[in-house]
């Protein structure tokens, strides 16, 4: 049960400003994802909330209680690190039980809680192994186990899936989402991968250079990006941007259309171009088209759309799905 409120939080390392001042409210039980390119300050922000870094200004409160200067252990938050940070000389059982041991709980309680966490995470058969004897996914689960035994007010995940291979990542993504459904605890999750953000989040916070660009549910961000940065960051493949005459005719400095909102035709349409590489994924076909004015845009066709390199194609944006941006990159209308 915890609501986390950041008020005008800033962080500087010497003269370098990482976060210039940021306000954010994370509601109780929410799954919030901080997403942004590397170096945008998302990990720093998480570490500020965890208490591993001290803020340079502003306040952090958890459940209305000011925690700005509370040491990390007393904030009641648990963290899962990118490198898992398991204790290499301890067995899985000791690793998961470590926070309870540090909290001074008796052995019977520790054993019971560790067994419970292990059962939830399918680790029962591995309790007596050392971390180095486990696979990446199992290590990840041990790290999560170590976090959940504490029954924390909130979980902090720092790019937990970036060391796993693609297939495992999809699995763990589901497991973490499932865990959130079970525990209903506040979770803050940092990633640079917008797919993770879109699939897991209740609320996405898009960060860029230490500033919040936009906050909203995945579909809100997808449907109504506030600016060029968010429009380009959310969605895969990335939104196409056109400047110059094409944008001018819409009364904007830049216009953007998502690949999935372009209709491909071989006969007629709004924009004419030559097909470049076509990526046939089976479910979709992504065609990279070079328009007559030289700009290259990506369009999504149906699964088995027959298009060859060098074909002339016509693209038509769907009605009402064209985004217009002004000179500063903010959305118009």
């Amino acid at each position: 049960m915890s609501q986390i409120t950041l008020r005008n939080v800033s962080k500087r390392f010497g003269d370098i400003v990482i976060i210039p001042g940021l306000d954010l409210v994370i509601e109780d039980g929410e799954f919030v994802v901080f997403v942004g390119p590397s170096g945008c300050g998302k990990s720093t922000l998480l570490r500020l909330i965890a208490g591993l870094e001290d803020v340079s200004g502003g306040t952090i409160s958890i459940d209305g209680k000011d925690c700005t200067n509370t040491p990390p252990a007393q904030r009641g938050l648990a963290m899962v690190f990118q490198s898992y940070a398991l204790y290499p000389h301890m067995s899985v059982r000791q690793n998961i039980g470590f926070p309870l041991k540090m909290a001074g709980q008796d052995k019977a309680t520790i054993d019971r809680k560790v067994a419970g966490a292990a059962a939830t995470l399918n680790l029962t058969d591995y309790l007596d192994r050392r971390p180095r004897e486990l696979s990446g996914g199992q290590r990840q689960r041990v790290a999560i186990g170590r976090a959940i035994v504490r029954e924390p007010k909130g979980f902090l995940f720092d790019e937990p899936l970036s060391n796993l291979d693609a297939a495992l990542r999809v699995n763990m993504r589901l497991e973490i989402s499932e865990l959130h459904q079970q525990l209903k605890t506040t979770m803050i999750y940092v990633t640079h991968d917008q797919v993770e953000a879109m699939t897991m989040a209740d609320k996405i916070v898009v960060l860029n250079r230490g500033r919040v660009e936009q906050v909203g549910s995945p579909l809100e961000l997808y449907r109504r990006p506030a600016n060029l940065f968010v429009a380009g960051f959310i969605g895969s493949p990335k939104m196409n941007f056109l400047t110059g005459a094409a944008a001018g005719s819409h009364g904007a400095a830049t216009i953007g259309v998502r690949p999935e909102h372009l209709r491909i035709s071989k006969e007629s349409g709004a924009l004419r171009g030559v097909a470049g590489v076509a990526e046939h994924l089976g479910s979709d076909t992504f065609v990279h088209v070079k328009l007559d004015d030289g700009s290259i845009i990506t369009a999504r066709g149906t699964g088995e759309y027959p298009v060859e390199h060098g074909d002339t194609v016509w693209l038509t944006p769907e009605e009402g799905r064209t985004y217009r941006f002004d000179q500063q990159g903010a959305v118009i209308g």
């Binding site: 648990a78 690190f81 490198s83 940070a85 204790y87 926070p99 540090m102 170590r146």
Partner: protein, 290 residues
Amino acid sequence: MATENTKTLARAMMAPSVIMLLVWMIVPLAMTLWFSFQNYNLLTPGNNSFAGFFNYQYFYTDPAFFQSIWNTLLLVVGVLLITVIGGIGLALLLDQPIYGQGVARILVISPFFVMPPVAALIWKNMIMHPGYGVFADIARFFGVQPVDWFAQAPLFSIIVIVAWQWLPFATLILLTALQSLDGEQKEAAEMDGAGFISRFWYLTLPHLARAITVVVLIQTIFLLGIYAEILVTTNGGPGFASTNLPFLIYKTARLSFDAGGAAAGGVIAVVLANIVAFFLMRAVGKNLDR
């Protein structure tokens, strides 16, 4: 087939150095064994004869024999305790970000570059001397009778000198190990509610286990043979209070000119070193397997 050939070739290429090392070890050992069974006194050369186990009996019945073995072990254990505990402490301090960290590290390492007799002489004449040593000055400042270190606590004084020399080595190895401790593990322990002491006990110390093992094993090899520091300070005395096995061998060989007896002492020293090595490997050797 190719691997088989590579292996054979590798063995052939390694052979010269392996043989060289073996000869280097076997020849002196064989000569020592040979002399240990000879009546061989440097004052009467050419008057050699087979002595049977007389040399061993002679060395064993030396009044200083048991005390010298005990002193050897005390010296090794004492120096190891001081250097490992002090080394961990210094390494923890030097690991903190401070201004002038590089200079501080070089200063800490510098005693290692001072050769043993020089270090011992500095301690004898400038630090522990009852008349004009630094310790005596301090004692007089507090109005206490200065301690004559080499007369009143000879073995302890030598332990202190040798520990001073080896502390940098231990610190350096342990500092390197400390720096390889994963930062996220420390942070995870911090999040888990482990205080400084718990973090040290459950995280840092197990992480240092292998480095401590290396320090203990390497230092033991050198500490079993400590000799120069004793020669220039106490000369083994008073009585046999600071005589260790190597020094007793030296006395037998160079003061009594009894090469046969000294050789027997050398063989006993080899046996002692092997016993120590056996127990050490059983106690800490498993730390190296990880």
